[in-house]
């Protein structure tokens, strides 16, 4: 039983970070129908930049973290300006290819600057574990799950009630009609890429803190997030959250119970198996919007 709970718990932590990266993915998809395959690289870059700022400037970690967020926001705006604006009006598939290229470039840049060794993270969370029931839980886990929950709640409200959020959804529906409402589509794109880069960087820093270091494998989160968002429905914030948590827990349980029996590797495959099963039942994902057709 305790083994099970441990697996579920660490699954929740990983799952909440999936949810964050998934959120970034969903935001870009919602406003522009683009699948951003560089989402995992945003996470990795954020984690590297944060520790680099911390080591170079010796400011408190929180300040380094905030600077990282500023960096990520600027990164999002720059990418939109340099890469995406020339692509306005081009087929979506070309833009998606572009994000694949961007992923490779970002990975190469990170390796070029920081090499391939793991960069150790400082102790950012208190080390004494807290007891929840019978279970000792490290505080890092609680912090990351907590901050993820706050962020996700914030964005749900943002999309539902704020004017910018509603305008983003409107832009996703039709750019031409959004323009006719006086919405600057370019600005909406820049905003969505910034938000996506920022939430991913948050995920990266949390992950770095929990794992004690950052390396190139962080970018794999981008790949794992695809079953997460497809499971939840590509355009649903709630779906990203639920999908992320389900995938995180599932992956850990499969790894814990099935890997010893089958000789390993199940952990990596399990999310994709679940994905196929769920899509067979719900092709729009768990929370995806169903296209309204008037007859």
């Amino acid at each position: 039983m305790e083994f099970f709970l441990q697996l579920v718990l660490s699954g929740l932590v990983v799952g909440s970070i999936y949810a964050l990266v998934g959120l970034g993915f969903v935001i870009i998809y919602k406003s522009s129908s683009i699948l951003n395959f560089a989402q995992g690289e945003f996470l990795m870059l954020g984690a590297y930049v944060c520790v680099a700022i911390f080591n170079a400037t010796k400011v408190p970690f929180l300040a380094a973290f905030l600077l990282t967020l500023v960096f990520s926001a600027l990164l999002g705006v720059t990418l939109e300006r340099v890469l995406l604006r020339p692509m306005i009006g081009e087929p979506v598939i070309s833009v998606i290819m572009l994000t694949l290229g961007l992923a490779s470039v970002l990975k190469a840049v990170v390796q070029g600057i920081w090499g391939t060794d793991t960069q150790p993270y400082p102790e950012i969370f208190p080390t004494t574990p807290v007891r929840i029931g019978p279970l000792p839980v490290s505080q890092g886990y609680l912090y990351s799950v907590g901050s993820v929950l706050v962020l996700l709640a914030l964005f749900s409200v943002f999309f539902k009630y704020s004017r910018a959020g509603i305008a983003m959804r409107a832009t996703a529906f039709s750019q031409q009609v959004a323009l006719s409402m006086g919405i600057s589509v370019k600005r909406i794109f820049a905003l969505s890429w910034s938000i996506a880069a920022v939430v991913s960087a948050v995920g990266g820093v949390l992950l770095g803190g929990v794992r004690g270091g950052v390396d190139g494998a962080f970018a794999l989160f981008g790949l794992k997030v695809i079953p997460v968002v497809i499971l939840g429905g590509l355009d649903s914030v709630a779906g990203a959250i639920v999908g992320g948590v389900i995938m995180g827990v599932l992956e850990n349980l499969a790894g814990g119970y099935l890997d010893p029996l089958l000789g390993g590797g199940v952990k990596e495959v399990a999310p994709f198996v679940a994905l196929v099963a769920i899509l067979a039942v719900r092709p729009y994902g768990l929370f995806g919007k169903i296209k309204i057709e008037r007859v």
């Binding site: 509603i166 305008a167 409107a170 039709s174 009609v177 323009l179 006719s180 409402m181 006086g182």
Partner: protein, 262 residues
């Protein structure tokens, strides 16, 4: 208020759609722009609102002036801020947004909270049916309700000029009459100017103060609704009925048509 002088529009660098079109929209009036399919009515509206850019179209000659300033070449989102709002053909509501969210998006360019709230109530008083359905996804509304929503979205921006493209498209005659009645009411009460594009010439001329008739990318006839309505050509081509023998009519049709186009 709005004037187009010798406007020429080319799509995809080759297709000449507007061939030196000129028209005037005076402040506070409803001006109807009539014509058959493919005459270039919607293109005219998109040239004014700047949405032409999104369809590979370009104003290659002539001047579009609004309140004394040249507006061709300005991006569409800024034209909205200057007070011109286009209600696009086919309603084009944001289907996966609720009715109320659609209305909120309409007021995107404004930031006076109190005014927005007041105007939302105003929309609901013009179209009480929208109020009943305000929490519903607009994709599930009927065609008439979607048209009401599209007009409400426009009202929320408090534009000086609304470009209304084919509000009657695909709607039941009774609903069309209701919507035209409300357009007239909005014009009288809010002093909003309208440029109305229609195929249903009868209804459009019933509420318009002035009318233009387009054919093949240019204006072929203009005048007061009374004058247009009594014109033999207009009667025949746009209002239906002419009262003459059929075989004879076909011959005449051909001759008249030719005179206009050449």
């Amino acid at each position: 208020m709005l004037s187009l002088k010798n406007v020429e529009v080319i799509y995809d660098d080759v297709i000449l759609v507007l061939k030196g079109l000129s028209l005037e929209v005076p402040e506070g009036k409803i001006v109807a722009l009539l014509g058959s399919n493919g005459a270039g009515k919607s293109t005219t509206l998109k040239a004014i609102s700047g949405l032409l850019h999104t369809e590979e179209g370009e104003v290659t000659d002539g001047v579009i002036e609004f309140l004394g300033q040249k507006i061709n070449g300005i991006p569409p989102e800024q034209i909205v801020r200057r007070g011109i709002f286009q209600v696009m053909e086919g309603r084009r509501v944001f289907e996966d947004l609720t009715v109320e969210e659609n209305i909120v998006v309409g007021g995107y360019t404004r930031s006076d909270r109190a005014g927005l709230k007041r105007d939302m109530e105003m929309c609901y008083s013009y179209f009480p049916r929208l109020k009943e359905r305000r929490k519903k996804l607009s994709g599930y509304l009927s065609g008439g309700e979607q048209q009401m929503l599209a007009i409400s979205r426009a009202l929320m921006a408090r534009p000086k000029l609304i470009l209304l493209d084919e509000p009657s498209l695909g709607l039941a005659p009774l609903l069309v009459r209701e919507i035209f009645g409300i357009v007239k009411k909005i014009n009288e009460q809010e002093k909003t100017t309208f440029l109305l594009v229609e195929q249903n010439a009868n209804l459009a001329l019933a509420i318009a103060h002035y009318g233009y008739i387009m054919e093949n990318g240019r204006i072929v006839l203009d005048g007061d609704p009374e004058k247009l309505r009594s014109n033999e050509d207009v009667k025949e081509f746009y209002l239906g009925g002419g009262g003459e023998a059929k075989s004879y009519k076909n011959l005449k049709f051909y001759r008249r048509r030719k005179r206009w186009i050449s």
